[in-house]
Amino acid sequence: MSTRPAHAVLPLLYIRSRALPLTLATLTGIVLVAAWAAHWLQDQPYFDHTARVPVVVLAPLLASAAIGTSLHAHSDELDRTAVGRWWPRRLLHLLALTVPAAGALAAAVPGHPEAFGAPAMVRNLLGATGVAAAAAALLGARLSWLPMTVYGGAVYLAAPRTPGGAAAVWAWPMQPGPQEAAWAVAVTAYAVGAALLVVRGARPERG
C-alpha cells in the first residue's frame, strides 16, 4: 500500500477523532439562536440595542465551550507517540474554529457597533475561547467550559452600569464595544490560551 492515500486520510481521521462535524453543527446552532435572540430582544417595547447584552455575553460563552470541548482526544496516549509534530495541528484546529465562529457571531448582531454589536461579540469570543483553551491545557478539555462559565456568570451581574475604568479590565465581557482595555484583556487571554494549548495540548483526562 502506498503512503499517498494515508496522507490524504490523516486530516479526515483527525477531524473525525475530534468530532469536529458535531462541533461545527453546534456552533451553527449557537449562531442561529444568537441571531434570532438578538433580533427578538431589540424588538421588545422600550428596549434598544443595549438589550443585546445577554446575547453578546452568552453566545461567545457557549461557542467557546464548544471549541474547548472539541479539543478532547479519546486516545491521548496514542497521539503522543506520533512522529509528526502536534503544535501545527492544534493551532490549526483552534484557528479553524475561532475564525468562522467569530465571523458568523459578528454577523448575528448587525448594526450599532458601539452598543453591544459585532466588535463586542468578536472580543468576547476571543477572550472566552482563550480562557477555554487555557483551561483545556490545564484542567482538561471536557471541563474547559467551567472557568469561563463561572467567571462570565459572576461578571454578568457584578459589572457596573457605566463602562470603562477599572471595570473595563475585570469586567471585559460586559463592555459595550470600543473600550481598549477590554480588548487588550481579551486578546491577551486568547494569545496566552492559544500558546498554552499549542505547546502543551489538552491535559489528559481519566474521569
Partner: protein, 434 residues
Amino acid sequence: MTASEAPAPRRTYTALRTELRRGIAPWAGLATALTLLVPLWSKAAQWQGGWGQTQDQLHAAAALLGGPLVAAAACWQGGREHRRRTAELLLSVPRSRPAQVMTAVTPIVLWAAAGYLLALAVVFAATAPYTGAGGPSLSVVVTDLGLLLSIGFVGFVVGRLVRWRLIAPVLAAVCYVLLGAPGYVESNARFLSPAEQYMLEGSVPVWWFAPVLLAWTGGIAATVLLAYTARRRLLAVVPLALAVTAGAVIVPTGDHLFRDDPAATRRVCSTPAPGTPQLCVAAPDAPVLPSASAALAGMFSRLEGVPGAPVRYVESTFDPKDDEAALAHVMRGWGITRNKLTDPRAYASETALSLTLRDCSNHSHRSRREGGKQVDLTDDAVRTWLADGDSTWDPEARPLVTRLEAMPDADRKAWLGRYLATRKSCMPTEVPAL
C-alpha cells in the same frame, strides 16, 4: 436476620459521606458561594442597609447564576458513570436505582445549599448593622433553596440521559434563558419563573408564597426524578399534578403573591430641635435621618422664622400635605451608601426644588405665558439661595439671587413668607416678584 440487616443503612451513609468529601461536590459548594458573593460585593452600595434590597439582590444572583451553576454541576455528576465507563459496573450493585441516584446527587445539592447559606450569612451580617425597621423574609430564602435543590435534581437526570460532552454548559445556558426570559414579558406567567424580581423593598410575600413556589419547583423536580428512577413510573403523575396545581395558583394570582410591607408604609419622624422642621421617612429608612438632617441644616436655618415655612418634610411616597414638603428622592446605591448621603449638596438642592416646584401641568398655556417666565426665574432663584447653590439653571435668575441675598433679614423673611404662601399657585400674578 437482624445481624445482616443492620449494616445496610450504615453502608448507605458511608457511600454518602465519601461522595460528600470527594469529587466535584465540595467545589460546587465553593463555586456557588463565590458566584453569589462576587456580584453582591461589587454592588454592596445598592443593598447594604435595606433588608428588601439585600434579599432582592441575593435572590437575583441565586436564581440567575446559582441555578444554572448547580444544574451544570449536577449534570456533570450525572455523566460521571458514563465518562468513567462504570455504568455497567453500577448495574451489578445490589442497590435500587433511586438509592444510587440519591447517593450520587445529594452531595451536589447539599453543598450547593451550603454555599448559598454561607453567602446568605455573609450578606446578612454585612447588611444588619445598617438596617432600620423590617426584617428578612424567610419565604424568599426557602424558595431560593428549593430552586437550587430542584434544579440540581433535574440537572443530574439530564446528565445521566444525555451523553454529550457539551451538555453541562448547554444546560446551564438553557436554564439561564428559561429562568431569565420570563422577566421580559408583562404577563403574570412571569411569576412561574423562580428568578422573577420581587421588589421586596416595599412588599412582603404572603404566607402561602413559599409552599406554592416549593410545590411548583419541587413538583417538577420530583416528576423528573420519579420518571427516571421509580420502578412504577406512573407515580410521576402525582408530583406533576401537584406542580400543575401550584402553577395554576401562581399565574392568576400574579402580583397578589405579595402584600404591602407594613414597615414600609409606617413613617418615622425625627425629633427636631426647636425652630427646625421635622423629617419623616419610611421606617426602614430611619437610619438615614441624621445624615439627611445634617444635609438640610443650612436650608432650615435660612427658612427659620419664615411664616408659612413647611413644618415637616416627608418622603415623597407619603404624599405631602399643605404644611409639608417632599424630601428629595434617593435610593441605595444612587444617593445613599450605607445610610450616608453621598452628595448632601445635591440632596439639599433637590429638596429645595421640591419646595419650589409648581405642578401647573393642568393649567392652560395662556396663564403660564403671562408672567410665567418671571415666576420660573423667581422659583429658580429661591431654590438656588435655599440650597446655597453655586449657580442657577437660568443665568437670568442670577441677579435675583443677589437681590435676595442683599435684602435685610426681616424683609427677606416677610418676602419669603409671601412667596411660600403662593408656592402651589399657578397664577403668575399671585406670586410676589423679587
